[in-house]
């Protein structure tokens, strides 16, 4: 068994913490690359923030609420997605009405947010199935396509749908789920 030598590790850490200077030319390369990228737009939840109705959800900020989130996620059972006959059309193809259901017993309000409503928590509030129920539901019209979505409990806690695949985003962000609506 090796002798514990924390001083060596401390020396390593001390060295590592020295400032590192990255070539400033990196800035130019980044700006050149993003010049060909569609500019990001303020929308959805961020729009709410910009307009003063801030929704305090951030990747690290959500850590403080991690315990509460975990509790709800654990008890959240089946976020069932069921198709109902519906009418209307959005985007490409004919839209049908889809119901989203989630169990969130600790929540006082829940919203459905996703690509279909610009991640705007105000646009698709969910309603309790019964007065004392822990089950929340709502329905939205969806044209054929692939949509990312999540549930937002009490304006600050993200819930991915346990009954749906997780979105595999390359970007760092709160958890979300994916639903693919087929054409018919």
């Amino acid at each position: 068994m090796f002798e514990d030598r924390p001083d060596i590790v401390e020396r390593v850490v001390s060295y590592l913490k020295r400032p590192v200077r990255i070539d400033a030319a990196l800035d130019r390369r980044v700006m050149e690359e993003i010049a060909s990228v569609a500019p990001p737009r303020a929308r959805g939840l961020l729009t709410a923030w910009l307009t003063g109705r801030r929704i305090a959800v951030s990747p690290l900020g959500a850590l403080a609420a991690a315990a509460g989130l975990a509790a709800i996620v654990v008890v959240a059972y089946r976020g069932a997605l069921s198709e109902r006959a519906g009418a209307g059309a959005t985007g490409e193809g004919v839209a049908r009405q889809y119901s989203f259901v989630v169990r969130a017993p600790q929540a006082t309000r829940v919203s459905l947010v996703g690509d279909f409503n610009d991640w705007d928590a105000a646009r698709t509030p969910m309603r309790r199935v019964g007065a004392e129920s822990a089950v929340w539901t709502t329905a939205v019209p969806l044209a054929p396509g692939r949509y990312r979505y999540a549930f937002l409990a009490d304006g600050s806690r993200w819930l991915a749908d346990p009954a749906a695949p997780l979105a595999r985003d390359e970007e760092f962000g709160p958890p979300s789920s994916v639903v693919t609506v087929g054409g018919s």
């Binding site: 390593v12 990196l26 961020l46 951030s58 970007e171």
Partner: protein, 185 residues
Amino acid sequence: MGIDSVETGDAGLVRRVLAGDARAYAALVARYRNRLGRYAFHMLGNAEDAEEALQDAFVRGYRSLHRCNGPERFGAWLYGILVNCCRTTGARAARRGRVFLHDDAVVSAAALPGPAERAEWEDLVRWALARLAPECREAFLLKHLEDLEYGEMARLTGAGISALKMRVKRAREQLQVLLKEAERV
């Protein structure tokens, strides 16, 4: 850190970018270049790969800026993107043979650097870090370089807190073994 001449806070700059002012993003890049670059450099072991990961992270950050739900925490949010970019770049570099293998057998049997190579403490540290498993090096750097809490680390890496604690412990132990052995030679 970064440029001090930019007085606008992160949230203000993010707002400007989202309002269409792409130039404001240059200020964010300059502000975080060295800060994030330090992690990338030590995680990947060389400046070329670090700059590749860093550039990738900044571009991805720009593309998904509308999903940064706490603009005042832009730095922490971008940090999460960087961690993923370093994983991708590190895996790519490993396939190119730029970095060392990382299993336990290789660590214990790794040839020590020669006298010229270990003339500098910095070289020795880089040599030892390169021999840690990527997930152990990542955990060690997040804990001891960035001083993150385990909860934050779990959020960034997707790993459990127990696993992260074990990785940090293993990293510390392996660094001690490697550096002690190197000092004897």
